[in-house]
Amino acid sequence: MKNWRYIVYAVVIVLAISLPFYTGAYHQHVATTILMFLTLALSWDMLIRAGQLSFGIAGFFGVGGYAAAITYLNWDISPFLSIALGGLAAFVIALVLGFAVLRLRGMYFAITTLALAEIFRVIVRNWSSLTGGPEGMVLPSTIFGGDSAQIYWLLLAIAIATIIVSEVFQRTRIHFALTSIRNNETVAKASGVDIFKYLVLAFAITSAIQGIVGGAYAQIYGFVSPEGSFHLDFTLLPLAMALLGGMYSTPGPVVGGLVLGIVAEYLKLQIPYGHLLVYGVIIVVVILFMPKGIVGTIRERLQRR
């Protein structure tokens, strides 16, 4: 059974890496978008494992995008380095803000992260000398000269790296810390868990991932703008993906991301903007009938057997 599982992993990875060889630019582009949102979904899940619900994905995504664009334009550095700096910027900002924000819990934390994203957007919009103001900034070139296969591989690498980080979260003491914090903070404290340390750590790392994805997005499209880079879609879609797939694990958001990503693309073609309606319906149906998501429900069925 265990060997069988590794064979499946190997096949999936080979198929994923070789995707550009058997598909065209359109499908590569779709796959890139799905990987982007899937990575965001996974990063969001890594924080909810500590019980902290974030609505701030778009905020750190946008910060990463702007940091990548600004450093790339001003410092004559490689696009890859600018993407990494996007992650670093999000990491540092999350680390600093975390000390204040992570004293909040539940809805208070959620609303504050939503507000943070909005504050970032307003700052970016008004700091014209640095950010180009409301018009945003255009990069002189896009990464890989816009080659869709290489762009896809870049995002695949980011997604796989995030999956590895997520598994590190699941297989080390971090898992015990985050789960105990989510279950009962008082018990966690009395068991010696330094709650604040682990929350700040999780917040900073997940924000860094969002910043990296945002940086990659900026480099792929060669463009950042206050409305585009901080769009609420970058928060809502990953959230819906993680809910659909199932929270608190690596496979959940990954499966949810793939399923919802493919469905969304198909629906976009059928009914423009109708896909947003479908997201809403999916979220409601999942919460009502499948609160553990696709992966959680399948696991439960398998265990019962």
Binding site: T186, V187, K189, A190, D194, Y248
Partner: protein
């Protein structure tokens, strides 16, 4: 030599004084009982000592060191372990993993080491099939898990907050036995309990709290004949 003492410990919740200038000490390796009617401040005392609440005034001194301002997780690592009156197992972890949390963070053990220690503690307390889902545990097993969880942090002092509640006579005896065995390992124990027979059998010394104040202390026989205690607490039984 005393391992823990409080100096004039006061804790208020709004207008309610839950603890009023409480001075008490835990002596090395004794089993102390804390009794008192509901709302007397027993659990609040444990919460202030373990760092869940900060007191309004007064000091908590552990091994000669003032720990009043230290956060709960540091106190746990120093050796103050506790169970909770409302048992709160960590739902998304299995039995063994629940106990591992204690040794991982209370002792700073690595994963493998924590696992080994948790298994040893399970064996010590007679907890079988430790990989089980905690929703399938009996009341007795949950109580044992609570104790195991606290033991995994390697406490020097262990507070047991109404650990016998909900257990039948045989189960109570088993836990009493377990607590005695924990003490032989050098742990100082403080039990908060409503069941008088447990206090009588298990403890060497008793503190009676009422309205946030210590109204009597001494051996159980002496305390249970104290008129103030009788009127405050045992009155109805006489």
């Amino acid at each position: 030599m005393s391992t823990l003492e409080t100096e004039s410990l006061t804790k208020r919740f709004g207008g309610l004084t839950a603890l009023n200038k409480v001075n008490f000490e835990l002596r090395e390796n004794e089993i102390l009982g804390i009794i008192g009617p509901n709302g007397a401040g027993k659990t609040t005392l444990i919460n202030v000592i373990s760092g869940i609440y900060l007191p309004n005034s007064g000091k908590v001194i552990f091994d000669g060191k003032d720990i009043t301002a230290l956060p709960a997780h540091i106190r746990c690592r120093l050796g103050i372990g506790r169970t909770f009156q409302l048992i709160r197992p960590l739902e998304n972890l299995n039995l063994l993993q629940n106990i591992m949390v204690g040794s991982l963070f209370g002792q700073g053990a690595g994963l493998r080491e924590a696992r080994k220690k948790a298994e040893e503690i399970c064996e010590f307390l007679g907890l079988l099939q430790s990989e089980r889902d905690i929703t399938k545990l009996t009341v007795l097993e949950i109580k044992k898990m609570e104790i195991a969880h606290a033991l995994a942090t390697k406490p020097k002092i262990l507070f047991l907050d109404e650990i016998m509640a909900g257990l039948n006579i045989d189960e109570t005896k088993e836990i009493i036995e377990a607590v005695r065995r924990v003490r032989t390992q050098g742990v100082t124990i403080c039990v908060v309990e409503h069941v008088m027979s447990v206090i009588k059998e298990l403890t060497e010394r008793v503190i009676v709290l009422d309205g946030g104040e210590i109204i009597a202390q001494g051996p159980y026989e002496e305390v249970s004949n104290n008129p103030r205690v009788i009127s405050a607490y045992l009155g109805e039984e006489r």
